[in-house]
Structures are given as structure tokens and as C-alpha cells.
Symmetry: C2
Subunit: 144 residues, 2 copies
DNA sequence: GTTAATGCAAAGCATTTGCACACGT
DNA sequence: ACGTGTGCAAATGCTTTGCATTAAC
């Protein structure tokens, strides 16, 4: 993301342009391996003496909330377990966190054909659909 | 899972048949909403007075390791962030936890056609491929 | 000048671990 | 009897929060 682009996004969302936000976004964009908070912190602490881990947490969550960063693999920092080991997929409600099963045989034979895969041995896969469940949609609908 | 089936699986894996394991598996199988450790604990504590939360943690991990239960949405209890908000998918190494990006346009227009979806409004989706990355495969290969 | 952002330290949860006792084999 | 499994309590690790200071607008 270019400097101007970032400034526009911040202004549009009423966010101050701080050196911390700029540095954290740059550090995150510089790697494609989905770093943890600590990895981002390690990457920036040399260039930005005195920065706090707390700030990295807060800034990343801010970026997620305005949609310029995605948080993966930890929707609510709790593990969930499933006794169904057959291949199936998940519908995750972004509003209430509920996870529903989706059995759909048309989704059960995906075969990625990217070259990046040659080196990666795939055992299984699962699709997570993100959206809004029926009851959350009802809750948010305007009451008349 | 039937009682006999469970007994076979335990014997095959050298696990003792305890009332805790039996009860926890039954409780997990009785719901399809991917409960957390605490939800399982709440479900069983009435029927199994004195059971410990620790046991629920341990038993569930045991089940995952013998393959009769899946753990979803918390591979290593750390959040990971991604500056790429375009649709793409992930290759997760089950061995070292590394997450790689996969851009593959043939996977970008999935449309589930299950009836369960009628009530669920989908905004986006992401596929997680689980497997073994090149460097972990090399590490595990027998050295000659 | 006002309001929002940061840094620090402490608190909060989910999860793990050490150890003694109890249970399954 | 033997070894594994469980319960308890303490420890650990990631993340969040309260509050005073600092910086952006």
C-alpha cells in the first residue's frame, strides 16, 4: 500500500497518521507469511525504538476493523472441537462467532493447480465461509 | 460413535477406557456446533461430578492425536495477520505451523448449493489446505 | 487546545504442567 | 501390582485494559 493510499484510508476513517501505524503496516506488507503480533513487533522494534507490544496489538486490530488487514486462524482465541472427521466445511458467523457445518459434495473434490503447490503435500482441506447467520440478520434488521 | 467402536479405537491406540473419555466423546458427538473446551465441560459436569477442566483439555487433545476428533480454528493459539485482503487461500503446514498464501483463480468462484445456506448470508470464504511443507518433508525424510 | 494514540504495568483468560492419588489393565 | 489417567493448583503465554503521557489534528 502506497503512502498516499494509506493516508487516504486513515483520513476516511478518522484515524491519526502515526509513525507506529505507518511502520506496522509496512512491516506486515513486507512479508507474506502471516506473522504473529510478536513477529511484527520483532520486525519493527529496531527501527522504532520504544514501541510497545500493546501498540502492535491495538494497531493491528484497528487495521482489521477498517478492513485493510485480515486476521486469520484465531477468530476468538478459543479452540473448538468437532467429532465429525468426515470432510465438511464451515459457515462462520462474523457477528456472533457461531460455527455451522456444511456438508456439500460439490465442494469435496477441489484440486488447486497452482505451481506453488508442487512442493506442498496436501492431506486435506476445509473451506470457511464467512458471513452472517439467520438470527444475527434478524437481530440487525430494522424493527417496525 | 458406538460403544464398541470406541473401545476398539482405544485398545488399538493403547488407551485406557475411562468414564471421562467415554463421557467427553459422547458430549462432543451430541452437538454439531463445534463446542469449546468450556462448553464440553459444562455439558458433562452434571453427569460426571468432580471432573476437571484439565481432563477435558487433555482428553480432547488425545482424541485429536488419534484422529477421532478435529480441532478447528486455533492451530497454535496465536493470532496471525495478513496485509493481503484480496481473496486467496492458505496452505497450513501441520508440522511446523507455517502458513503460506495460495492465489489460484480456479478456486475463487465457489458457490455452495446446500439448502442449509438459504438462511446464511455469505460475504467471503477462504480455503485452508492442511499438509506438509517442503522443508518439513525434507526434515522427516530418512537420511542415507 | 482538543481529542485520539501510545507506553507501561497490571489484569484477564485460555491453556499447560508438575505432582500426588485413583483407576483401568 | 503396574502404569496410565485424573484432579488440583500453580504456572505459562497470549491478549486486553486502565491510566498517565505524548503526539496528531
Amino acid at each position: 500500500m502506497k503512502r498516499n493510499e494509506f493516508e487516504d484510508v486513515c483520513r476516511k476513517n478518522g484515524l491519526a497518521l502515526t509513525i507506529q501505524r505507518r511502520t506496522i503496516l509496512d512491516a506486515l506488507a513486507a512479508r507474506t507469511d502471516h506473522p504473529t503480533v510478536d513477529q511484527v513487533y520483532e520486525d519493527i522494534k529496531e527501527n522504532l525504538k520504544g514501541v510497545s507490544r500493546t501498540t502492535v496489538y491495538r494497531v493491528l486490530e484497528t487495521f482489521v476493523s477498517i478492513g485493510i488487514v485480515r486476521k486469520i486462524s484465531n477468530p476468538e482465541s478459543k479452540a473448538r472441537f468437532d467429532a465429525d472427521t468426515k470432510r465438511h466445511h464451515h459457515l462462520t458467523c462474523m457477528h456472533c462467532g457461531k460455527v455451522l457445518d456444511l456438508h456439500d459434495s460439490t465442494l469435496d473434490n477441489l484440486a488447486p493447480n497452482s505451481g506453488a503447490l508442487r512442493e506442498f503435500e496436501i492431506f486435506d482441506y476445509s473451506i470457511t465461509f464467512n458471513g452472517r447467520c439467520a438470527s444475527c440478520r434478524d437481530d440487525e434488521a430494522p424493527k417496525i
